[in-house]
């Protein structure tokens, strides 16, 4: 039996998600442009960005949630507004923002396309992003009143430090050791991105760490029909975070990019939308696929 004949007939909703999955690059390009649309920044920079995008970038139109959280923590205030926006995005789509809207995530995928030898790393140590969230975003900024994650952030180096230094003589005059440390971290990350899939998202990103716990309970979830799954690992081959979707479809590492759906030879991966879709109404079970 070939793969095509093994496929079930996709439902209307399934066809919609499959079609959307094929347009992901378009969404990523549009998102990168919207999040860095420059002209609206005097108003929209009061809104936390639903992705990881440095707000010191000259073109950034939204506030970086991680930078904003550090600012509040440094001022000994609870960032209710920012956490609320992050929580709302997490409760609705989990880490889907990472897979669809994050310009730095997209950049990592582009870097991985470079024709260099690849290194496959297990996800075993991906708890490090929680450590970075706790230390560099909360504890150290609380004590020092300085946004230490921003000071070392490779996305900030790429989107802000380098362009600002190129654009302004005054900024160039301020360049010191920290700038070069940050550029060094970016250099290491650029190399790592070219050999391993999305290393920043998997081991470092504190925004991903905030969204990961929402994955099992978010409205937008993946569902695997375990009885149909043949464990062929095609899902892992295309997964930007290198996970076996069938082992845990609601894993905190999953960025809901849906790239596993079109390649599944038996169409056993579907999207559950927790009461928001017509298909769910038909079954009467909230959250059913």
């Amino acid at each position: 039996m070939n793969n095509e004949s093994m496929k079930n007939e996709p439902s209307g909703a399934q066809r919609f998600w499959l079609g959307l999955a094929r347009q992901r690059t378009v969404v990523q390009v549009v998102s990168a442009l919207v999040l860095n649309s420059y002209f609206t920044r005097h108003v929209t920079k009061g809104l936390p960005c639903p992705a990881f995008n440095c707000y010191a970038c000259p073109a950034a139109a939204f506030a970086c949630p991680i930078g904003s959280i550090q600012h509040f923590v440094g001022r000994k205030k609870v960032p209710l507004y920012v956490l609320g926006v992050v929580g709302l995005v997490g409760a609705l789509v989990g880490r889907a923002s990472c897979g669809w809207f994050c310009p730095f995530g997209w950049f990592q995928e582009l870097m991985y396309k470079l024709p260099v030898p690849k290194l496959r790393l297990p996800n075993r140590f991906n708890w490090t992003r929680y450590l970075i969230l706790a230390a560099l975003v909360i504890a150290i900024p609380f004590v020092t009143r300085e946004p230490w994650f921003c000071k070392l952030c490779p996305a900030g180096a790429l989107e802000a430090s380098i362009p600002m230094a190129l654009l302004s003589v005054d900024i160039r005059a301020l360049i010191g050791a920290l700038y070069w440390i940050k550029i060094g971290i970016l250099g290491v990350m650029l190399f790592w991105m070219s050999v391993t899939r999305r290393p920043f998202c998997r081991w470092i990103c504190p925004l991903g760490a905030l969204w990961s716990p929402f994955n099992p309970v978010s409205s937008f979830r993946l569902h695997v029909e375990q009885a149909d799954c043949i464990r062929c690992d095609r899902c892992q081959e295309v997964c930007p975070t290198d996970i076996r979707v069938y082992e845990n479809p609601v894993s905190g590492a999953c960025i809901r990019c849906l790239q596993c759906m079109p390649v599944c030879p038996v169409d056993c991966i579907s999207v559950a939308t927790s009461g928001w879709s017509l298909e769910t109404d038909r079954t009467g079970i909230p959250g059913a696929a």
Binding site: K45, L47, P48, I285
Partner: protein, 43 residues
């Protein structure tokens, strides 16, 4: 997952959405929108 599990997930999901909206509103009440804007603009 059984129907009960689905129901539980559904309720947790909706509770989180309500909590998140409440946090946003509370933040707006304390003028945190302006703090975020000012911090982002000053960079």
């Amino acid at each position: 997952m059984d129907t009960r599990g689905q129901r539980q997930l559904f309720l947790i999901n909706r509770a989180l959405i309500v909590l998140a909206v409440a946090a946003v509103l509370a933040g707006l009440f304390f003028d945190q929108w302006r703090i975020v804007l000012r911090n982002a603009i000053l960079l």
